[in-house]
Symmetry: C2
Subunit: 402 residues, 2 copies
Amino acid sequence: MTITTIPGGVTAPAGFQASGLSCGIKASGRPDLALLVADRPASAAAIFTVNRAVAAPVLVSRAQLHAGGGLVRAIVTNSGCANACTGPQGDADAREMVARTAEALGCAVDQVLVASTGVIGVQLPMDKIRAGLPAAVAALAADGGTRAADAIMTTDPFPKSHAVEVATPAGTFRVGGMAKGSGMIEPRMATMLGYLTTDAEVEVDRLQRALVEACRDTFNAITVDGEPSTNDTVFALASGASGVAIDDDTEAALVAGLRAVALTLALDIVRGGEGATKLLRITVRAAATEADAWLAARAIANSLLVKTAVHGGDPNWGRLVAAAGRSGAAFTLAGARVRIGPHVLFEDGRPYDDRSPAAAAYLHGTDLEIEVGLGTGGHATATVYTCDLSAEYVRINAEYRT
Amino acid sequence: MTITTIPGGVTAPAGFQASGLSCGIKASGRPDLALLVADRPASAAAIFTVNRAVAAPVLVSRAQLHAGGGLVRAIVTNSGCANACTGPQGDADAREMVARTAEALGCAVDQVLVASTGVIGVQLPMDKIRAGLPAAVAALAADGGTRAADAIMTTDPFPKSHAVEVATPAGTFRVGGMAKGSGMIEPRMATMLGYLTTDAEVEVDRLQRALVEACRDTFNAITVDGEPSTNDTVFALASGASGVAIDDDTEAALVAGLRAVALTLALDIVRGGEGATKLLRITVRAAATEADAWLAARAIANSLLVKTAVHGGDPNWGRLVAAAGRSGAAFTLAGARVRIGPHVLFEDGRPYDDRSPAAAAYLHGTDLEIEVGLGTGGHATATVYTCDLSAEYVRINAEYRT
């Protein structure tokens, strides 16, 4: 099996078209309406937020997936308004987006999913969406993936789009994807909004299993601010247009393809995190259990003191130890270890502060590795991806609505 | 029972002396060595950090309390260096601080406790502490409480000192206290460093029980950045010098006095939180259980998106709902409720955005109340105190060591 990066994003696999345009939701005039359409009903899978304050489009898409038996023709997405905490009117609006998209495409109503992202608690401007939908259908194109990726952004500094070709002895298929960040990111069960497409032929149950597996150490291993949102969703659609059918033998190749695209998109979400200037790969080792490894890695990745120290280029390993120590994971200070890049700053209960200047120089980089050993004698490990915390994050989030 | 505020801080109760001076640990020359001494062995109680990366002085004080049978003559404290993650040398240094203090005071070695606060992972400059200790003993005074409160500060913008007089039918006694903040604050089982004194006569077991009770909704209900530290400790000393013995009938009065001092100090820690400009009282109601109420209140209080929105004066109730929804507490969106000051912005699943301008005006204040109802039909409630998150927090913590 070989995996090669290719252009085209979510429309790189055969059997998909997409579009993205401005229908006037965003005052800035930037694109805010995206359509992703399969030429014929595609197998579909999804993972939704674990937040109990669930947005209307999440509830509607979950019900639609069930009603349509896992077959989907289209996903309609708006940015600029999350349609979350919007009461019965929000539910009705999400259903109307589905119905009008189905009507414009001439497909079954239960084969359309919906997603929204943006400010919470504001009703959708349905007049603008009604006017925009026919235009979005008219603009559908087999090279429309990057325009759709543009139209799902909110505070993202750049669009996130990726695709690969997976060559297996059984045949070659493609996997594409797009995603949006960039605040309220600690997906746990999915990211803010992620879309994966493939032209492999995959049964619905197998696609769901592969999606969960591919997200485990990609979308589910990132955090910007420890805030799982009300609208987190990751979708996967399989068109079958490549003619390559996935079976037990080739499922691993499908997972590998999905994972490759998901990892690139996930890391791009972190790189584009609000106010972010550095990408951190935080690996916890020597944990007693895998659950402990994740617990400690998330605690470190979400520590304000760790994130601000890295932002300031300070190799403050004491904050890493303190975050691991308070995480709830089993932890033995005398056996703990901290490595910042190639520099071990704490080992066997003792600091090596003479290495601080070298570690500080390493932290001037923008793609950083930090490793914390919990000293328990266990061998479990986990890696979480996050970014630094800057004054710019505060500025963005203190001024988001005002 | 009446409780009246009085001056004097930790030396307001009879039977205590204190001092604070600079021994040269801090490059700034600000005070960094504090002594709190009881004229005769006092009943002592303490609550220590739940962080598993425990600092040397915490380990030593815990052992000392046990060795001395709960009787204590002195607590020696340095700021500017936490003596945490300092290996066997750190343990030896903490023990030497205890031994030299006992020697200078002429008391039993097992009647001295020790505390340190400041940067993690740096060895104590013992030569400076050795030179400073005799001077600190010489400077002991019955009005030294405020000087000691000065000497335990690190990044605190102001010292935290408070005292009250408790008048009961059985007699009048006093409670004093001091504390330091102001980052790495989410105490759970104690705050960074807190000291409570009383001239009531209290058995050791009763004092421990009263201290735990008094801290439950004071020191243990605050958070600045969700970071329980390696050195968190709160001490209580009872001199008995007032002649008022606490029994089952007057224990409630003792708890009330301790609680009054602890609450003032706790709120001052939040007000003096790194970069803080506003104090927030976040109350969660309609929770299914008390544990759920605390879970949701802490999740809201530690939400970066809530803290930045409040900093920017944005009544972004959607972020409050989203934080409650992801907290893990039982939550029913359709019954949820958000109140910012007197303004209800979300109720019965529906936003009231016409009230946003009034709520935004309310948020210009510096002492704010926010209430979130979880809509479960339950009646449990919890209040957590926190502050906003500013660019100044990032600046302080990106530059703390460098």
